[in-house]
Symmetry: C3
């Protein structure tokens, strides 16, 4: 679809959240279609996880987004989908790859939302494809267990914070989950959640560096818990790390099922977003260093540095591999 003014920031760059939402919609469609392709209990595919995704180049208002999706692996109860986003300037005809993403879906019964159904297996062209898919499946399973443990943290307000401290840029928003946010099962689309997360992360980044910012990448996101229609969700973000030219922001989503259900507020999702600051010509600008004050902030900064260096090393290894 064509990118509209409301999809973009003041500088005309489309929000990463808009792109994540389109990616998730494509993934939900292809995996729901696949899981219903054999006669049996009707179901809706729910997003369980998005793998780390890089935003290779920013999109602009008026460009057309081409989203294509393909199922790359099926386990007994989950579907792996590869989604590619190409942006096309329809006036010049120029096209470029904007995003590649990998998503995991789980089919839930339309009649009983707590029942996970079986996934019809796909055919692989080569045996190695199945083996590689299985390896990815095992890896993400492990990683999901890990983030589940990290989920206890909360963000507290700070009075009169100094510029460039964590408290200075931390932000949160609340959103009442309405019908248009939800799937046929009455649960929030994963894409809607990701769009809100990107919105908060973008506010944190802009508050910190006070320039035009764009999403550079999103770390793997795990959707541990569904969020029901009528919930209030609180999306909170705080900066955890800065390199010379990038900022890492941790975002939490808490759901508050305050009507109709005797249940406590719970952590539904958390993730790391990386932002860069762009000059008017679209070049990356230096970013003010994050000032850490508490022990927790210093620890999180070091952890963020670890993720940054790991990603950098991985990218260099890939480039060397590509150059061989």
């Amino acid at each position: 679809r064509i990118m509209r003014p409301d999809d973009a920031n003041i500088a005309g760059n489309v929000h990463g959240g808009t792109i994540l939402k389109m990616i998730e919609e494509a993934g939900a469609i292809i995996s729901t279609r696949h899981c219903n392709s054999q006669a049996g209990e009707p179901c809706v595919a729910a997003l369980a996880r998005v793998e780390r995704t890089d935003f290779l180049s920013p999109m602009c208002i008026g460009e057309v987004a081409n989203v294509s999706a393909e199922i790359s692996y099926t386990s007994r109860h989950s579907v792996e989908v590869q989604v590619n986003v190409m942006s096309e300037n329809i006036l010049t005809g120029a096209k470029r790859v904007t995003n590649k993403a990998t998503l995991w879906y789980v089919p839930l019964s339309l009649k009983n939302v707590n029942k996970v159904l079986e996934v019809p297996p796909i055919q692989y062209a080569r045996k190695e494809q199945e083996d590689e898919g299985k390896k990815r499946y095992e890896e993400q399973k492990l990683d999901r267990l890990e983030t589940k443990q990290r989920n206890g943290d909360v963000i507290l307000p700070v009075i009169n914070p100094e510029p460039h401290t964590v408290g200075y840029s931390q932000s949160s928003l609340i959103h009442l989950v309405g019908p248009s946010d939800c799937t046929l099962l009455g649960f929030v689309h994963g894409g809607v959640t990701m769009k809100l997360m990107d919105e908060v992360a973008g506010i944190v980044a802009a508050r910190h560096c006070k320039t035009n910012i764009v999403t550079a990448s999103v770390d793997a996101i795990n959707f541990h818990e569904k969020i029901k229609k009528g919930c209030v969700i609180t999306v909170s973000g705080r900066m955890t790390f800065t390199s010379n030219k990038s900022m890492e922001i941790e975002v939490f989503v808490d759901a508050d099922p305050f009507v109709d259900e005797p249940r406590e507020r719970y952590r539904a999702v958390s993730a790391f977003f990386t932002y860069v600051s762009l000059s008017k010509e679209g070049k990356p600008l230096p970013v003010p260093q994050l000032l850490t004050e508490t022990e927790d902030e210093k620890r999180r900064f070091e952890e963020g540095k670890g993720r940054y260096l790991q990603t950098k090393a991985k990218r260099q290894a890939q480039m060397q591999q590509a150059a061989q």
Copy 2:
């Protein structure tokens, strides 16, 4: 959240209706949460009334709106909520108060929408807070009875009206109530109604003075009757009074439950909006005087003058009090 191009007029000023909608969403969330805080029948808080609110300074595209809400009084069956809106330029970090509003909600049972539930009482820091709240409660109760009587009026089309007459600028729009306009109970959010009312009032004001206009204040609004999903609502506005630099517009909302229910069209809400005209530099401009023709129009003009002078006197009294 960040203000988008669709939230604003051509001059980049955010519509008052967008701000009213955010205020009401915040009020609905906090009061619904409070009314469900004790075990008992689940409920949804429905907007009963918004007190007069002033728009202290216009917001612009790209600014972030910070909305905070607090419960200030509870009667047996209603909740009073104070909502503050701060606008923040995230690039400069500058913040200012945009709005302060007081809203009254009533908890309706999720199982039986016609049943008003009891509100859990709040604790007051000082006895005077409870007494002042009670006084506000009694005052609004009286005022709600009064507007109920005024509600019989209708707006008729005028052929070939002269510029600056009432008929020249009067306007109306219709809207089919869809699922995304409604609460869990299937009734229109008060904030959605107020946004439509501001849209019509803005069109009336722009037709009259043909310049860039912004909402300056909204008089108390009483929500006498709920509006159900599937209704068509007609929102009509006509100018009632002009001072040198302001315009008062009366707005009616009529609901037409034309499907599924054997019921006549009825008046659901009515209110007065005050608009000012702004120059390119954001200074208030003189406004052409409203030409009244009929006896009714002259009477409404005088009544509007009364409200204008009363508000002016109240504001001067507050400023003197503040100066002491």
Copy 3:
């Protein structure tokens, strides 16, 4: 309502699809109201057909659209509605007619969606009005049978197409039908479908001529089949014909009820859109000629030429009649 940035293209011209959506909303409201005007089974009017409509002049951001609707004929099971759209510049007060459209609706029972109810007859001022209405009714009935047969075609992707060929500009989008797209019966509003069709047609036109384009007219559209909530719809467009200054694009809508229903993908709607290319001053520009390659493309080009010449002849006849 006021036209917003998201309603328009980059040049500030409001999308034809936005206008079609407003027209259909007005038609659905007036015909649903009429069909429920007598005691009996409650119903919702579903769009069956839109007659050919011309976009007489483009609307711009900030203008107000005035939509008025009137019932002009009723048969036993259908309602004909005339809708007029006027655009008004509220700053200058200038008004002009933007569109005139004729729509046909059929009342479906709210309790049993497959049951078509009877329409209360309207009163005609003159006997000729009824006769002319009956003639229009018979004509559209014939035409609906014809398009039903044409509906088998599909659009296949082309690898590395040459500029200005059919394959070069053909486009498609998918959309997951959500609650806010649907009527009370849980089926997609005809207006939502037409807005998506116009979006795809606009992308095809822009890809072909790489300039600012606007919708000039839409041929009669028949809605053969309803589309249910939860379906995925694929909207595909391909260019069929170019004259010196216009482009004809054929658009198909296919619905895929992949959840909850054991049914194949089916063709729900198809139509022809005509676009023109505009200079910065709003004058029509010459359009590159469409290069046809296959026999089918050549045949469709000739058929498009037939429609183009027929419309041109009809318009000239009308102008001569008006001049007499």
